[in-house]
Symmetry: C2
Subunit: 147 residues, 2 copies
């Protein structure tokens, strides 16, 4: 079992604002991909689309200002059944985000790519909450020939 782990600290920000950016289509469109649709509330399914493809996520858990968890229900084969979790906490003036994408069967090259891309998108989330402007797809930072 291999997992993708990341951490970002959102400076001078409230976990409320991070939580909103994770649980509304408007928020998600501001940092992950502008082509986001669906229902980001508990029990809903969110469609995230990118130039090379996309993911459908079922919202498994939403604990206000503490945790958001999704399960991948459609997308690339390697992603289906994996879970994506954001754990939030306030640390003084900063909002801390601990990220986990778990359930990968094998450490394939695509997983290496996704790990680097998750870092890029989490820094986009940090920027969105700190400054009001993220860098969602299709204007995201490109890391390789896959995107």
């Amino acid at each position: 079992m291999v997992d993708i782990l990341h951490k970002v600290g959102v400076r001078s920000s409230s976990v409320d604002d991070v939580y909103d950016a994770l649980t509304t289509v408007e928020g998600l469109s501001g940092w992950w991909t502008t082509d986001t649709s669906g229902d980001a509330a508990l029990g809903g399914v969110i469609q995230f689309r990118f130039p090379p493809g996309g993911f459908d996520m079922s919202v498994l858990e939403t604990v206000p200002c503490k945790r958001v968890q999704w399960k991948v229900v459609d997308g690339p084969e390697e992603w289906i059944g994996t879970t994506v979790t954001f754990d939030l906490r306030q640390d003084g003036d900063d909002a801390i985000v601990l990220f986990r994408h778990v359930g990968w069967k094998e450490p394939v090259e695509f997983m290496h790519h996704c790990s680097t891309k998750w870092a890029v998108y989490l820094l986009s989330l940090k920027s969105l909450v700190e400054t009001g402007t993220g860098a969602p797809s299709p204007d995201d930072v490109k890391v390789d020939t896959w995107d």
Copy 2:
């Protein structure tokens, strides 16, 4: 066992140039930390220093244009004994870097931080080779209150 995995593609670049950036003090100073010293050749020990601390790496393996592997011999307790591997390959006009930092005992919060920071530094390596300018410490992208 949990690993940190990443991938970057260095556009319109040769693996020779990436290999140089991984096996010379000048190259390493250009993307990871400006405070790099020591011997980056096989069997040498490299000292990497950052404002919060640093790492000493023993150079375990250098296969020209294919692989560089280091073992952490001094630094934070969680890092000691872990290995850092860069696997390189040419893919048409691009140089592909597959990165692994393995041997972590537990997925502690510091590991989440280091995973995100490695992505930042690998994008700095990509930038250095593509443009001649990286973003090494202390002018690196900060991801949280730890740096």
